[in-house]
């Protein structure tokens, strides 16, 4: 089931899933642009994929395991230097009110 014509509701829904807050004009612009791309990619349907397995990576590879060795961690300073806000050794985030049920 594919819908090559994209509704504004779908675009809003996808924006929510993608954690992007978009004003209405953006939703309208993206709707037209994305509809164009999605229309183009329907040509994938014309390819016969009967009996063909999906390929996520170009090569078959097996997991490589590291030795279970303790190594020095990255320093806290280096990890916190890009934090938008800190309190002492902690990353500071705005207080978020959870809904009490």
């Amino acid at each position: 089931m594919t819908d090559a014509s994209l509704s504004a509701e779908t675009v809003s829904h996808v924006a929510k899933l993608a954690r992007l807050e978009l004003p209405q004009e953006r939703i309208d612009t993206y709707r037209k642009q994305l509809a164009g791309v999605l229309q183009h990619v329907t040509n994938l349907r014309a390819v016969d994929v009967e009996g063909v397995e999906p390929m996520a990576y170009p090569f078959e590879s097996s997991n490589r395991l590291a030795e279970d060795e303790i190594a020095p961690p990255m320093s806290l300073d280096s990890l916190l230097m890009n934090a938008p806000a800190t309190e002492g050794r902690f990353l500071a985030v705005p207080k978020v009110l959870a809904n009490e049920e």
Binding site: R19, V41, A56, N82
Partner: protein, 491 residues
């Protein structure tokens, strides 16, 4: 030294006929002069580069081995992590981000004696084919500043093409090294997937991304590949291959040599000058004794659809980490915010429109109800594309064709995203299949009284870079005059 390439610089520094400090200082002066016009560099590490150059000279002075890239000035695309300066991915999301670690490729280049001059501009998060989607302003093509350098590694391509540095690193997910190399008239190599470590490359499409060199000669590209390639325990997708030198034996052309040409590549939709340059390149190979073989790649066109489903899907996952919490842009909190509102505003403010479009596209094709029709199907077509190349390579040693269907276009010409995506038709399948490809300055056309470069692309089987580079060298020996610096600033 007039426009020396990396090989001559390292030879001169190693045998003390030039000092690394002089070479680096000369390139820094060129950057001061030309970068305001080209906007290739976002950051220049003037003092650190001169210090590094001085320590290379000191090493040579006391008889220590300064490394195979001693004194070579190199630029690094700004989506590759450096502890020097910032790593912004040309995005407001990472405007102030300083990496706590160096990418593996950066560590290896420094160990080899190269001198990092700075970070170059790109299409934001490597998403684009023109470097117009750069938060720090567009990059200009050195051959004609009203035109684009290509993308996403436009800054690195423009820097090498105008000799702001001898070589540069870029990244290629669907053509982002090869296409700007074609539009800027230099050499651009995308190694086989897994040949070069991705540790420290900000991920866009994890099954597609590779780091590779820009250079003005095939030997320089081989030199850089020698320095950066190889297994890295910190990148579990890097391949465990025997160390082989790509520079050694570069002048030994494979014999017999079979060059494959897909009829799908000489399309009427190409600019006619592109087709002319391809025909002339085929003549060069014929005269060099190669057999030209017709091969079939019927899935060429559908590669765009395959790529623009898979790459955005992977991007939507990879860019989920940018949420304003641990690093990157955080929106100012508003009363009544839920946590998800903080994420959504931080991301809407931090990401430019092209990045937002691709995240949305990727989220859509992975979402329930659409996953099978788009993403799962694209992965099956991916396997067919790989098999198509495997069959073609049974009959030839390398495939020749255009890198881009057009020479450098004007800024603003492809404002519709789809029309820009269609320019990637000859490069995306290389990444989809994971094989290696290189763009060379194949020829020139004249537009508005200026020379514009047109690239030719060679593609070879996975892990066949040594063959690819030798076949490239055959062309370079005959057409050495094409491998030249852009006349920036000439009237």
């Amino acid at each position: 030294m007039h426009s020396p390439d990396a090989t001559s610089i390292r030879d001169a520094v190693r045998n003390r006929s030039a000092s690394a400090e002089t070479v680096v200082a000369a390139h820094l002066r060129r950057i001061d002069c030309l970068n305001p016009r080209l906007n290739a560099f976002h950051e220049v590490f003037r003092e650190q580069a001169l210090d590094r150059a001085r320590s290379i000279d000191a090493a040579v002075e006391r008889g220590a081995d300064p490394g195979p890239l001693a004194g070579v000035p190199i630029a690094i695309k700004d989506n590759i992590a450096t502890t020097l300066g910032h790593t912004t991915c040309s995005s407001r999301m990472l405007e102030h981000y300083r990496s706590p670690f160096d990418a593996t490729v950066v560590e290896r280049l420094v160990a080899a004696g190269a001198v990092i001059l700075g970070k170059t501009n790109l299409d934001e998060f490597a998403m684009g084919s023109s470097t117009e989607h750069c938060a720090w302003g567009p990059v200009r093509n050195p051959w004609d500043p009203s035109r684009v350098p290509g993308g996403s590694s436009g800054g690195s391509a423009a820097a090498v093409a105008s000799d702001l540095c001898a070589v540069a690193l870029g990244s290629d997910t669907g053509g982002s090294i090869r296409q700007p190399a074609s539009l800027c008239g230099c050499v651009g190599l995308k190694p086989t997937y897994g040949r070069v470590s991705r540790y420290g490359l900000v991920a866009f499409g994890s099954s597609l991304d590779q780091i590779g060199p820009f250079a003005r000669s095939v030997r320089d590209a081989a030199l850089v590949l020698d320095a950066i390639a190889g297994l890295d325990p910190r990148d579990s997708t890097s391949a465990d291959r025997l160390r082989e030198s790509f520079e050694r034996g570069l002048d030994e052309a494979p014999a017999p040599l079979r060059i494959g040409v897909p009829r799908e590549y000489l399309s009427d939709a190409n600019d006619p000058e592109v087709n002319r340059v391809i025909e002339e390149a085929l003549d060069v190979y014929r005269e060099a004794g190669a057999t030209i073989v017709s091969v079939d790649l019927p899935l060429t066109d559908v590669g765009i659809s395959t790529y623009y489903v898979i790459a955005p899907a992977e991007a939507s996952s990879n860019l989920a980490r940018f949420d304003g919490i641990r690093y990157g842009h955080r929106a100012a909190p508003k009363a009544g915010d839920e946590l998800v509102d903080l994420y959504a505003r931080s991301r809407a403010e931090g990401f430019g429109p092209e990045v937002q479009r691709r995240i949305m596209l990727g989220t859509y094709v992975l979402s329930s109800g659409y996953y099978d029709a788009y993403y799962d199907r694209a992965l099956r077509v991916r396997r067919l594309i790989k098999q198509e190349f495997d069959r073609a390579f049974e009959r030839c040693d390398a495939i020749l064709g255009p890198t881009s269907p057009v020479p450098a276009f004007r800024a603003g010409e492809h404002s519709d995203p789809l029309s820009m995506y269609l320019c990637d038709v000859y490069t995306v399948n290389t990444n989809i299949a994971g094989i290696c490809g290189i763009s060379l300055p194949g020829g020139f056309t004249q537009r508005d009284g200026r020379d514009l470069p047109i690239g030719i692309q060679l593609q070879a089987p996975a892990f066949a870079e040594h063959v690819l580079l030798r076949i490239a060298r055959v062309f370079e020996r005959v057409r050495a005059d094409h491998f030249r610096v852009a006349p920036v600033g000439a009237a």
